[in-house]
């Protein structure tokens, strides 16, 4: 076993065995974590949600408890009265919040915005609210507005 005279061979074998053990333990704890999340439905997080009716009226639901993985659509429905339509391939379209409905004749509709803490401005995320998973300590705003591209909220 000439190759055993090279100590790096044994060292490599030790590292490989360590990597295998570490990988399987990581997998095991990942399974445990997934199982726990599945059973409790998610870890509680706190985010801020707002509705701007486009007439200088804005209402907030701050430090609202949601669970990790919960979508903006689901969180919004938990706070306000929401009606919606489902467009095939485009996800959910929110047609009204608290009775304020989209108006196709005037081009008015609901667009959601996210507050960017680094840019200090509102940014539009072009995915459906039923796909976007809310993160901890985020600020999200539904803005009733018209025009394309929709102008950011004031």
């Amino acid at each position: 076993m000439t190759f055993l005279k090279n100590r790096w061979i044994l060292f490599s074998m030790l590292l490989a065995s360590w990597a295998l053990i570490a990988s399987f333990f990581a997998g095991y704890y990942w399974l445990q974590y997934s199982d726990t999340i599945n059973r409790i439905g998610g870890v509680p997080i706190y985010s801020n949600f707002g509705v701007d009716y486009g007439n200088s009226t804005r209402s907030w639901s701050n430090n609202t408890k949601v669970l990790t993985g919960m979508t903006l659509f689901k969180a919004t429905r938990g706070i306000w009265n929401v009606t919606y339509e489902t467009a095939s391939g485009f996800g959910v379209y929110v047609s009204s919040i608290n009775g304020v409905a989209s108006d196709s004749t005037q081009g008015m509709g609901w667009v959601w915005w996210k507050w960017d803490q680094f840019m200090n401005s509102w940014v539009r995320v072009d995915i459906s609210a039923d796909v976007y998973a809310v993160a901890d300590n985020e600020t999200l705003l539904w803005y009733y507005e018209s025009g394309w591209p929709p102008p950011p909220p004031p």
Binding site: M1, L14, S17, I21, F24, Y28
Partner: protein, 185 residues
């Protein structure tokens, strides 16, 4: 195989099965793998593989943990790798003139331990894949749960057994069966 080898194979198979039943209360810690490895080292690849397959043929069919044909067959086949590896190690060490464990240096002890680690890992991998198929579990789940913590205990105990137990076991075997020449070939 000569009569001495056949006798040694039978005795080692019986020893392997006996230790398995004796150590039933220590979950997944077994001397069987070391005995099969040492059998391969002293008796050659065929006899070594035979000790492994026959040990599982008996222990698997009268298994207190229950019987499953696919798992039984997979363990019978997988166990042979210890015997084959033992024989190949013997061939490699003989070429270097250090086949006698009394001539082993520290690096060989570490290598044999790590060999035990990787052989046990392969053995667990094969049997867990078969378990995953037969149980209908998600394969990834079966592999991970099969390895942590059950397979881990198996792998670590075998690493220690192989590293610390191979040399005395080979010496004992050669003393008992090898005669004055300490040779079973």
């Amino acid at each position: 195989m000569n009569s001495k080898k056949i006798a040694a194979t039978a005795v080692l198979t019986a020893l392997s099965i006996g230790t398995n039943y004796a150590m039933l209360f220590i979950f997944n810690v077994k001397l069987m793998d070391l005995i099969v490895f040492v059998s391969g080292y002293c008796l050659g690849p065929f006899a070594g593989a035979l000790v492994g397959a026959m040990s599982w043929a008996v222990y698997g069919s009268l298994n207190p943990m229950g019987f499953s044909l696919p798992i039984w067959l997979s363990t019978m086949v997988s166990e042979t790798i210890y015997g084959l590896a033992g024989a190949f190690l013997h061939t490699a060490l003989r070429r270097e003139g250090v086949a006698n464990p009394k001539q082993w240096h520290r690096g060989i002890f570490v290598f044999v331990g790590l060999l035990g680690f990787f052989l046990t890992f392969i053995y667990d991998l094969i049997t867990n894949i078969v378990f995953g198929y037969t149980s209908g579990w998600n394969m990834l789940y079966a592999l991970i749960v099969g390895f942590v913590p059950m397979g881990f205990i198996h792998v670590i105990s075998n690493t220690l057994f192989f590293s610390l137990g191979s040399a005395p076991a080979i010496n004992a075997l050669l003393s008992v069966f090898g005669g004055e020449k300490r040779d079973l070939s």
